[in-house]
Symmetry: none
DNA sequence: GTGGTCTAGACCACA
DNA sequence: GTGGTCTAGACCACG
């Protein structure tokens, strides 16, 4: 039984996640211009090609539109943005449930655990 | 704003997590002997030193005990095991809450989202 | 097996095609004056030498006649224009047939495919 | 009116077309292994990264499946291959119709021209 | 060996 | 200036 350690996602996908997150929570709004490929590369401390790939992937997903010579912009298609939010949410919840299941928790215990967590946090 | 990508944990800590998980969900029981450092190293495809470090860390955490010449055993201190379970659970929940917060979800929405997830899963 | 990608035609021939197309479909009529080399160069965003070469080539093909001090005119020889039309048509059809053959289509399938295309377009 | 000369497709897409063509006409069969990225790069006289991109694009389109450490294979999903054939056919016909329209040909003339072309070819 | 990712640096078309 | 493509060369995980 050999496990797969080192399972860190590719950088360009991490940045996709990061930007998606910003879009979903309204920090980057529909129609807004993203930083240029080169700016973003400096900002993130990675190679411009990596950002290029990030933007390409996001365009493929439809959450961003690029205009040659002008820049890359958050789509104004609210339906896509809504779907993105649901997608991200489902991914996170799925990962959470999987981890908790591995610790032997039932669905009820997960909900209770979550509620207890909030109660403790408020104290 | 330079982000820290590539944040994959050291291997020895990943193995700590993996073993902890097995212990918590009863796959490895209190008092049970863990595989020897060498066995475990082969099993995991990792250098024996890395496993040594894993076991040391787990001993430091009090969840295993090593007996010279006999091997490494899961502690029989149920209180520690209980605490471990809570610790892991809290970590997972904490990560979950952090991610969901980043997407702009409120506490109520998290609970509701989780419950919806279960409902959809059962269909 | 080394392929030849990047096979884009020289610009002056592209312009020949473009002008030929305009002549064939009557946008430029027999006997009509073409724009001067300089005008055409500006219009096309190209070096005047390139246009010069275009006109020379078209004269060599007989589809255009230059009168010193007056300009360049579409030939009034209808036979040549007719031949040009057939030539362009044959080139296009030849390219089409070649591409379709590469996909494994028979002659009958090409005709049928074309007719189906029209039918779908009209819906 | 500035025209866009030099409109040659990116190399990686030209190779996509080339391979698609081979697949559609059965030269590369369902389930068959494609040349490795490096082999293909040498064969085509381009950089391995360019082939990588070609294969990625083809995987995205679903016409190819890659198995890490083993290679890239033509999909065995016949439905996808059928759709691919139709897609390529439609693209070629569409380009043909567009060109012929620019020369002022009607739909009937296109069909007749095509049939005449075949007749002449057989002589 | 395979494909996948990343960097460094270049050139292009578009506006 | 923008994004898009390409090369050269490197390192990684997987089998």
């Amino acid at each position: 039984m050999t496990k797969d350690f080192q399972a860190s996602k590719p950088i360009y996908l991490q940045i996709v996640d990061h930007l998606s997150s910003q879009i979903v929570r309204g920090e980057l709004k529909a129609g807004q211009k993203l930083p240029s490929v080169r700016e973003m590369a400096v900002e993130s401390g990675v190679n411009p090609n990596t950002i290029q790939r990030t933007y390409s992937e996001m365009e493929r997903m439809g959450i961003v539109e690029t205009k040659r010579g002008q820049g890359t912009f958050v789509t104004e298609n609210e339906q896509v943005l809504q779907a993105l939010k649901i997608q991200l949410q489902t991914d996170i919840i799925g990962g959470f449930v999987k981890s908790m299941k591995e610790l032997g928790f039932s669905q009820e215990e997960m909900v209770q655990g979550l509620q207890q967590f909030f109660r403790r946090e408020q104290e």
